[in-house]
Amino acid sequence: MAAVGLARRDSKWLKSKEAGAMGKFFAVILVVITLASAYPIVTHKFVQPEDISTHGHAIDEQLADTMAEGGFAFVGAQLLLAFFVWKFSSRKDGSKVTHLPGGAKLMVATAFILVGTEVLALGVLGQKAWADVYFTSPKPDALQVQAQAGQFAFYFRYPGADGKFAPLHPDKIDEGNQNYFGLDPANDVEARDDIVTAEMTIPVNREIHLLMHAKDVGHSFYVRELRIQQDFVPGLDLSLHFTATKTGKYEIVCTQLCGLGHYNMKAYLNVLPQDEFEKWLKDRAAEQ
């Protein structure tokens, strides 16, 4: 091929013809790559895990909308590129270059309007998915669970029989004694019935108000099935609320690189029927 190219180097016509063939070949490859990339998305080859939350459908719809908008833009732009490459690949040398009317300014303005409309549309459509989780308050009867992330494990705290979380004293943290939160039961009566666990267990179909804080560095609370991914930020008390609709055992993973043991930072989420949850909580209370 190279030898052929060298032999015909002096012929401008052949050179132009060869370039045209290359261009058409590129256009075809572009179409093939575009369609092959779109295929698994359009045919839903990548299936999301089952959604077990009341708000998850809005997140899924938002993801689908984003994928559709982004997908149409991607496929459209690639096909348009392939079309132009094909159409103008074999023009003879010396032919006049023509521009779309309006020039570069109009093109840039059009791009801004198109992209802006897309971003705005996603924002407007998505505000419900976002606001449902972040801009609403949990119901007064939501079950409060505190989650603490620390290198490299999650721990959870439930208020005991008194329904109150005792204050935390970081200087009292004593991991060898399972005092991960820094409770002071010797002086705080409220701390004596607080329940600390390594697994998060919640009742099904009841709203959970998750109170989050980090012990050391940034971490993240991610449960695929709950469609929740929220960072822990050191120094900030963050909160979330959600309702799980299906019993089962799910994984909580840290998705914010937090250090050496990050790969190993996980916990389990057990969603139980109300009566089983109450029994579980009673058993844990007896262990404290």
Binding site: N177, Q178, Y180, A186, A198, L260, N264, Y268
Partner: protein, 237 residues
């Protein structure tokens, strides 16, 4: 010639001393029992579900070991040692061994001497990051993947050192780095015995990771056994 004779007499005297020290139970023995009064803190089960390879090694969950008790109010894991009166000793040749098994430190309290070789092994299928927390010795922490060679180290100053794992927050142990070989760790019945103490005045100290330490003086004049008991005040919280 005179100097040579002096050397010979000196050597003979040293040899005689060596014979005395090594000739079985010479010197006194201090023994006794460590107990507690009051209500000790309840030990909590440890949930290792995030590390399944460790969790499955325990048919019933292990508990914390900050206060381990035996029958008759016996207090275990107490290091009883001669804190004053005995000369400092060179390190013995055998290594003190500390193992990480089932995401637990075995033993929970390891006593060894200054400059004695310390060998830390990982018997688990998971990585550990051992992190002793000394205040006067040099601090370090080291990762130990499964199947790797033991970590070998030593401490050059006497100290009680808490040990933790940077990957598994529940793992907790203690090193007791001591100046001499007169020490014992209570186990089961809370009893201890310190043998071969030549005549002299000694301070016997009992150290517990949660309840601190207590000392008593004892004078040994011959081969007689002496009894020293320690009672720690236990607190529920």
């Amino acid at each position: 010639m005179r100097a040579k004779l002096g050397y010979i007499v000196g050597l003979a005297a040293l040899a005689a001393c060596a014979v005395i020290v090594h000739a079985g139970p010479s010197g006194g023995t201090v023994s006794g029992k460590v107990t507690y009064e009051g209500t000790p803190a309840k030990q909590k089960p440890i949930d290792m579900s995030k590390e399944p390879s460790c969790a499955k090694q325990h048919a019933t969950p292990i508990t914390t070991e900050t206060v381990v008790t035996g029958p008759g109010n016996a207090l275990d894991n107490v290091v009883v040692y001669v804190s004053a009166g005995a000369p400092d000793e060179g390190a013995p040749s055998q290594a003190a061994k500390f193992e990480q098994k089932g995401c637990q430190y075995i033993p929970h309290v390891l006593a060894f001497q200054v400059n004695q070789t310390l060998e830390i092994a990982n018997a688990d299928q998971t990585s550990h990051n051992i992190h002793p927390l000394p205040k006067v010795n040099r601090e370090w922490n080291k990762s130990q993947p499964p199947g790797s060679a033991p970590i070998v180290d030593k401490y050059d100053k006497p100290e009680f050192i808490p040990v933790k794992c940077n990957i598994h927050p529940w793992m907790h142990g203690n090193f007791a780095v001591l100046k001499n070989s007169h020490y014992a760790i209570t186990e089961g019945e809370g009893g201890f015995s310190l043998a071969n103490l030549p005549p002299g005045k000694y301070t016997i100290t009992a150290w517990h990771e949660s309840y601190g330490d207590q000392s008593q003086d004892v004078t040994i004049s011959g081969n007689e056994p002496k009894t020293v008991n320690f009672v720690f005040k236990a607190k529920p919280y």
